[in-house]
């Protein structure tokens, strides 16, 4: 009875303490670690109460504002890890590194995208067409995954090979990003807490791409590297809810001593804004530090450089391209970026494909295999 008494006493103390702390301490409106607004206190009305809406919202409010919420989620993540869990919400927990599990490709969307790309290349004779698909960390660094996890994954390499074959027969040169990254898989080419590739990874992608674009790749040793952050916790870190991972470092690479950029013009529905840098350092103070590469994803970005080569390139891209584009500034006078996910009209109102020397499609396998927006390339 003594033992039960002690336990009861401690538990009652804990319950009372937590309840008082939860109810009395000031509430946060926003969770930094979850990057979302926490549930507000529900409004009381006859309808809300009788429909059960009030009690449901009250439960969420109480749980969202529970004293020490972030600590609790960390404790829970640690418990699950200790119990052997190495995957949470489609994120693999490897040794000091998180990797995303990509969902099976959406065949319908992928076929639609490839058809659109092929039709697009046929209609716009003139420029050279290049496609570059970048596998995710779980493919390239599969040796870092939890034991036996590979057996539960689909092969991105095989999928890329299949897609490339069709594209290759329809006028697209296909860039072997997979091979280039594979050769450096022991290096830190992906962030440990985010799904993107690091600047180092993007450099190897650029090195490979340069061979196809027929431009001279700037050697890494001749570039200035600036470490702009050592406390980057990316999307995977948030998603997995597991806290035992070191933060990432973000590096900027400067070919030719500087950015080599004259202007960066971002066009959105609300208008145009012009900047003089590829980097938006204000994001380094925010949650999503990767967005410091070219800012958030935007429909259209137009970059004028100081390269003076007389060449122009049009890039259809997802956010993987944002950290690769800085390497291209010495090869093209003008680099125009289209993120089809944010485009609702035909992009040709903005850019005319036939005016370019090169057209590049640069996507992560993740977005390419699951997204439905690439078909807009042929609108």
């Amino acid at each position: 009875m003594r033992a039960k008494m002690t336990a009861s006493f401690l538990i009652v103390l804990f319950v009372v303490g937590m309840t008082i702390a939860t109810l009395c301490l000031p509430k946060k409106k926003y969770s930094q670690s979850e990057n979302r607004a926490l549930a507000p206190f529900p409004k009381i009305s006859f309808n809300a109460v009788t429909s059960g809406e009030f009690s449901r919202s009250f439960d969420s409010w109480f749980t969202d504002h529970f004293f020490g919420r972030d600590t609790w989620t960390a404790v829970n993540g640690g418990t699950e890890y200790a119990l052997g869990k190495r995957e949470n919400k489609d994120v693999f927990i490897c040794d000091n590194q998180l990797m995303a599990r990509l969902p099976e490709p959406n065949e319908l969307y992928v076929n639609r995208s490839i058809d659109a790309m092929n039709s697009f290349a046929k209609k716009n004779q003139g420029p050279s067409f290049y496609a570059m698909l970048i596998p995710s960390a779980s493919e390239i660094q599969a040796d870092r995954l939890p034991k036996n996890a590979t057996s539960t994954l689909w092969s991105q390499k095989d999928a890329i090979d299949g897609w490339y074959q069709t594209l290759g027969e329809n006028g697209w040169s296909t860039v072997d990003a997979e091979g280039a990254l594979e050769a450096h898989k022991g290096e830190e080419i992906y962030y440990h807490t985010d799904h993107h590739w690091t600047s180092q990874g993007a450099y190897y992608g650029y090195e490979e791409l340069a061979k196809y674009l027929n431009i001279a790749a700037v050697s890494q040793s001749s570039m200035d590297v600036e470490t702009v952050s050592t406390d980057f916790y990316g999307t995977l870190y948030n998603k997995a809810g597991f806290r035992g991972i070191q933060p990432d470092q973000i590096d900027y690479y400067f070919p030719n001593g500087g950015e080599g950029v004259e202007s960066v013009t971002i066009t959105t529905a609300s208008g145009q804004e012009t900047y003089n840098s590829l980097y938006f350092k204000e994001y380094l103070e925010k949650k999503d530090q990767y967005a410091s590469f070219l800012g958030e994803n935007r429909a259209y970005v137009s970059i004028k450089t100081t390269a003076n080569t007389g060449k122009k390139i049009l890039i259809f891209k997802d956010s993987y391209a944002n950290s690769l584009v800085p390497f291209l500034t010495s090869a093209y006078d003008e680099i125009d970026l289209v993120d089809l996910r944010y485009v609702n009209d035909s992009f040709t109102q903005q850019f005319t494909p036939t005016e370019y020397d090169d057209v590049l499609l640069l996507y992560s396998v993740d977005v390419f295999s699951s997204g439905n927006d690439l078909s807009k390339i042929d609108w």
Partner: protein, 467 residues
């Protein structure tokens, strides 16, 4: 509301206990009744009137049966009316959709389905109410003249959502007089925390294993993984349900009640009949008392006895949910029990114990397949996987998923046996000092980790920059 909910743990229960302990005894039932109504309304406000109406009907029927105690015919008629109302409401709210959709499928009738959602706890409170009426009819206790007593019994938040189905005769004395003391509170806390741990730490975690296996195409599940998966489900179900009723029993203890036990190491059963004496005991006992025995039980000819067994098991099956697979599940156990009774039961009794446990668990697991999948095609596909239709025994896919749950899996297996309780006794007797320090730490840790899990249940990071 659920017991495994932060609002319940940190607001509702503490406040109810505070109030309950503060008021003098004659108001305790009132506090219990009102908090039960609040508890019910929190989860199911729209059916609160139904619950109150239901309670009132049963209270009045009880009085009417008692009033006509000397007129057997009239008494019987009143009981019948009461039972028809009780069972009728259950049928309408729980089974109407199933009946209509089945009739429509079979006869092409276009009967519209009113799509009534099932009121929370109706399967439990109906059975409790029936035990009240029949008990009065049989003269086991007298009808309650105080509405509050009947109301408290039927709506009790301790057992309204998941049982244990407490027959009125077992709790009747405590409805009027019960000892509420510190010992009861301490034991209640212990039971509650152990139950919470079972549900949150064991069941909720092992659930991931079954979710993964179930989501896999049965044709590709190796034999070994199919078994690991369904055993995972067996654990998930057992620790969820037994954990939940243990919490109910724990809260009951804090309030001064002794609710009946509901599980007795069911996976250690030595036969299928033994399993049903150890699994959801309060339901089995209810069916035995109110269906099987009144039908004549086994004191009738063999044919009638067999009929009785089938009636009980078909009803037990369909009680579990308004889907036909539950009926098959009940039928399956009816047949197994008959086979044990008349064919091989005696043989099994001679086997060594581990073999008996294996035998019983084997058939229970097959049963869980019928329980879990709603269509025959799914059932046969999964059973096929358990007998090797994939052509493989094990693969690295299996190793990956099993290894993530291996620790919890073995903890579940361990806590399905009587060993932890035995070790607990030994520890307490042989190492009293370690016990005095260790056990509270264990319970607090269990509670704290459960709370961590519950807080994290709404962990929904908003993913900025979806690439």
């Amino acid at each position: 509301m659920q017991f495994s909910n932060l609002t319940f743990l940190f607001l509702f229960l503490p406040l109810v206990l505070l109030l309950y302990y503060a008021v003098p005894f004659r108001f305790k039932n009132l506090v219990f009744f009102l908090s039960s109504l609040f508890f019910y309304a929190w989860g199911e406000p729209k059916y609160l009137p139904l619950l109150l109406f239901f309670t009132l009907i049963n209270y009045l029927t009880g009085l009417a049966i008692a009033k006509n105690g000397k007129n057997p015919k009239k008494k019987k008629r009143i009981l019948l009316v009461g039972l028809i109302v009780d069972v009728g409401l259950l049928v309408v709210f729980k089974y109407l959709s199933l009946l209509i959709s089945t009739t429509n499928t079979l006869f092409g009738a276009g009967i519209p389905d009113p799509k009534l959602s099932m009121p929370l706890g109706i399967s439990f409170y109906t059975f409790q109410a029936i035990s009240y009426l029949v008990g009065i009819y049989w003269g086991k206790f007298s009808a309650e003249t105080n509405f509050l007593t009947v109301g408290t019994y039927i709506t009790a938040f301790t057992q309204i959502t998941s049982g244990p189905i407490t027959k009125y005769e077992t709790i009747e004395p405590e409805m009027h007089k019960r000892t509420i003391n510190r010992q009861g509170f301490y034991s209640g806390v212990e039971l509650f925390v152990m139950g919470l741990g079972k549900k949150v730490i064991l069941s909720n975690h092992i659930a991931g294993l079954w979710a993964t296996v179930k989501a896999t195409n049965p044709g590709e599940i190796p034999l070994g993984l199919a078994w690991v998966g369904i055993i995972g489900f067996a654990f998930q179900l057992y620790f969820d349900f037994s954990g939940y009723t243990q919490m109910a029993i724990g809260v009951g203890r804090m309030l001064g009640f002794h609710l009946p036990p509901n599980f007795n190491d069911p996976y250690m059963s030595t036969s299928v009949s033994d399993f049903w004496r150890r699994w959801h005991m309060s339901l089995g006992s209810w069916f035995r008392e109110f269906i099987y025995i009144p039908l004549g039980g086994n004191r009738v000819g063999r044919a009638k006895n067999i009929r009785n067994i089938f009636v009980v098991w078909l009803l037990t099956g369909i009680w579990h949910g308004a889907q036909w697979n539950f009926l098959f599940w009940g039928l399956y156990f009816g047949i197994l029990l008959l086979l044990e009774k008349f064919l091989w039961g005696k043989k099994v009794e001679e086997w060594p114990r581990f073999l008996q446990i294996f035998y019983s668990f084997f058939f229970v697991c097959i049963g869980w397949v019928l329980f879990e999948f709603s269509s025959p095609a799914q059932i046969f596909a999964y059973l096929g996987a358990m007998f090797g239709t994939s052509g493989s025994i094990w693969n690295s896919f299996s190793t990956y998923y099993f290894s993530m749950y291996a620790i919890v899996f073995f903890l579940c297996a361990l806590f399905s046996t009587a060993y932890p309780r035995k070790w607990k006794q030994t520890l307490r007797k042989r190492f009293p000092t370690t016990w005095k320090i260790g056990y509270p730490i264990f319970l607090v840790l269990l509670f704290v980790l459960s709370v961590a899990y519950l807080v994290s249940s709404t962990y929904q990071p908003f993913l900025y920059a979806q690439f």
